[in-house]
């Protein structure tokens, strides 16, 4: 293809996304209005960071000079929250190495918010309110043929406990699935397909070891954490934040050890974050919601490229 044909192809592709871009613009306005009305402070924390939170299954992309591109703004946001003791939110880019598929881009936008004196179930109510508000704000896009706004966010959301789901839909319990390294596969292939189509599904009672930063429920021994799914697509992950300094340090150490054994990069620990916990992080709840996926869910897109002007594979370059 010659240069002008390439440019024409790009223009045609970008113009085909114009409705999706308008919807994205409308969505970010709605999100910001929502949080402003609920007395949240919008914050921006560094994108290049020195100490990404240690998580067993999250790998970061390296930036220059010993920095990493943030996989999430979580630690900085909680450091801010501890100092300000007020609700904060952030909408901005996050990065995950080697994650690419119809629902994944290595660079994406995350909407995160944290609220003092809240637990993950308070956050769930707020999330329902937010997403329903966003859904109404995008009502005008229902008429557009390019989209298939089919998910019913206004009705009741299904809330399912994972231990119960394992018992009901599989022959193994969640702990043995974890031991046999089958948890994710069973979740995707056996449990998620059971969910009602076009209806939001909230999974709760996750195994504690999958996450380094959620509080342990003293009764169940599971994480105080839930995730939101629609038609098999994960939209959000929320928890009651772990605020105990000693337990947090111990969990980071455990995760570091696991990553070291697996021969994976072991990121340094954010000492400011641990110090924040030692001096006292208020009890709080927080959530990370995939902004691009929220847009996909609201518009009824099933491939992230339908809303992405510049997917990484299209960025061909040459030296001059």
């Amino acid at each position: 293809m010659n240069e002008s044909a390439k440019r024409e192809t790009e223009i045609a592709r970008l113009r085909s996304l114009s409705k999706a871009l308008e919807a994205r613009h409308q969505l970010s306005r709605t999100v910001r209005d929502f949080f402003r009305q609920h007395s949240y402070l919008e914050v921006n924390t560094p994108v290049q960071i020195k100490a990404p939170a240690l998580e067993e299954h999250i790998d970061c992309s390296a930036a220059a000079h010993g920095y990493w591109l943030r996989p999430s703004p979580e630690l900085h946001m909680k450091r801010l929250l501890a100092a300000l003791n007020r609700p904060i939110f952030q909408l901005g880019p996050c990065f995950r190495a080697e994650e690419r598929g119809s629902l994944h881009l290595p660079e994406f936008h995350m909407l995160e918010w944290y609220r003092p004196e809240a637990d993950c179930m308070d956050i769930l109510e707020e999330t329902k309110f937010l997403i329903r508000t966003c859904d109404q704000a995008l009502e005008g896009f229902t008429e557009d043929k390019a989209f298939n706004r089919k998910i019913d966010f206004s009705g009741e959301w299904m809330v399912v406990n994972l231990d119960t789901a394992f018992a009901e839909y599989t022959e193994m319990d969640m702990d043995s699935a974890m031991e046999q390294n089958l948890f994710e596969q069973v979740l995707v292939e056996r449990i998620l397909p059971q969910a009602e189509k076009n209806r939001p599904l909230v999974l709760c009672g996750f195994p504690l070891t999958l996450d380094s930063l959620a509080r342990k429920n003293p009764d169940s021994g599971r994480a105080e954490r839930w995730e939101l799914y629609v038609n098999g697509m994960e939209l959000a992950n929320a928890y009651t934040e772990l605020t105990d300094y000693h337990e947090q340090k111990h969990r980071f150490q455990q995760t570091a050890e696991i990553r070291r054994r697996q021969g994976r990069e072991v990121y340094p620990v954010d000492v400011h974050y641990l110090e924040t916990l030692r001096c006292g992080l208020p009890e709080c709840g927080g959530i990370a919601l995939g902004f691009d996926r929220l847009l996909m869910a609201l518009l009824g897109c099933d491939n992230i490229e339908q809303i992405t002007p510049f997917p990484p594979e299209k960025e061909t370059v040459e030296f001059i």
Partner: protein, 188 residues
């Protein structure tokens, strides 16, 4: 060995000593857990399909594939005869291995044939072949605002969509991967 992160559509792998090609590929990573690579696989010899989910730590065998350059000679019914450019050995390739590619075969074009344990599994044609237009409506006709292409018949008997300025007798380049018109080589 391949890593699970190498998986993508079109990758050729080996499972239990059998060669497969990835025909569909879905990446997922639920619940802050490990990455899953959910693949649909097609057996490269018998065409049977298989669903297989790989996890991030999985290692996957590489099939021992050998590429040979060969020139297309002629066809005998549903079998296409190629001649090895180095050894002059003849290979008889069944039509189903070429798939839609068979319509672009022309004597003496050089192809790459992929062998798995001495059995041909894939033929790659040159990305572009030249063909002459033997039949198409003259010039631009009708509603040019919406009709930007027209149908044209090639000298190999197949039809492609071409721009309105293409005429009978023109020599054009056709992309064998998509089967579509690429550009005009020369005017009639």
């Amino acid at each position: 060995m391949y890593e699970a992160s190498d998986l993508r559509k079109g990758l050729k792998i080996e499972i239990d000593g059998e060669p497969y090609i990835v025909t569909n590929f879905e990446f997922c990573k639920p619940g802050k857990g490990q990455a899953l690579y959910r693949c649909k696989l097609k057996h490269m010899l018998n065409g049977s399909t298989l669903d297989r989910t790989f996890r991030s730590a999985d290692k996957i065998d590489k099939p021992n594939l050998e590429t040979r350059e060969a020139f297309y000679s002629h066809s005998e019914g549903d079998v296409h005869i190629f001649m090895d450019g180095e050894t002059y050995e003849q290979y008889a390739i069944p039509d189903e291995i070429l798939g839609t590619g068979s319509r672009f075969l022309k004597p003496d074009i050089e192809c790459e044939i992929l062998f798995y344990k001495e059995r041909p599994v894939e033929v790659t044609l040159p990305f572009f072949i030249e063909a002459r237009i033997i039949e198409t409506e003259p010039g631009a006709r009708g509603d040019t605002a919406t009709n930007v292409t027209k149908t044209a018949k090639l000298d190999n008997g197949h039809e492609v969509q071409v721009p309105l300025f293409i005429n009978e007798g023109d020599l054009v380049k056709v992309d064998t991967r998509t089967g579509g018109y690429s550009e005009r080589v020369s005017k009639a």
